[in-house]
Symmetry: C2
Subunit: 136 residues, 2 copies
DNA sequence: CCAATTCATACTAATTTAATATGTTATCCT
DNA sequence: AGGATAACATATTAAATTAGTATGAATTGG
């Protein structure tokens, strides 16, 4: 029940894009130098962010990344989902065959876990990148 | 950013207490049989729950555990805190010397992480054991 | 063509988490 | 009194996850 390093790094890196990639792409190297992040790790995260179409890339020298969406249209939830896939996993899907501790059909606790999950998703979705940047 | 197994197990076990320990203590063995949980693991969790004064114990044969507080006075936050200590850790305390990626003093992101932390704590504190039991 | 850069996969190391093992202490019941 | 039951305590192991590294191919600007 923690914010993962992946999420932290991704948020840090994306704020760099938000601020500096408006007119020109920004390379991972630049970002990592500024934010003191491990280059190869960020490469991996950026690939996922790109797959999720939160950022777009320009290949080759003088290439780099830019946001693919408006800054107020990228939420913390989007970032977490991209980078941390099951950042709030339904570890109990209500089926005893999948989750050994489930009792009853559907499992009596499923409703609770689902409610928590939904609350968290809504909350993280309410935090947009522009709000994060505004506070820096 | 997940509900840990520890929390899941503790919640399951505590609902057993909530329902069955009103007049007599309930042993870990009984609980684990019913909920299909690993006895020795639950012992560890219960020790922490006791240290946090959420449950009380009776030693020896015919002994077991009972809730130490009213059922509506135990929140999911209390449980998580007891069992999962830093279930929502302030991984960034704002000091570069403690968290390598912090930039600036205080770190520009500290406010955001703190806000998220506070929101989650409030939310989990709003979910009480009686509400959980009521839905089973 | 070369440097800078994205893109892709595989691997390793570190950390955390879940679970087990072993044993002690306290209390009830016959 | 003694055996059974159950809490209490600590150490260890095993599994899983996460963070980070290594290697290298593909792309593009100058």
């Amino acid at each position: 029940m923690n914010i993962s390093t992946k999420t932290e790094y991704a948020v840090r890196a994306l704020t760099e894009l938000a601020v500096n990639s408006i007119d020109k792409p920004v390379s991972i190297n630049e970002i990592c130098k500024k934010q003191n992040l491990p280059v190869k790790y960020i490469e991996q995260l950026f690939r996922k962010l790109k797959q999720n179409e939160l950022i777009k890339s320009i290949h080759g020298a003088k290439g780099g990344y830019q946001l693919a969406l408006e800054i107020n249209n990228i939420s913390l939830k989007d970032i977490m989902e991209a980078v941390d896939e099951n950042y709030v996993a339904p570890f109990c899907n209500g089926k005893p065959e999948d989750h050994v501790h489930c009792i009853g059909l559907p499992c009596a606790f499923k409703e609770l876990w689902d409610e928590i999950k939904e609350h968290m998703e809504n909350y993280f979705d309410s935090i947009k990148l522009d709000q994060i940047v505004a506070r820096l």
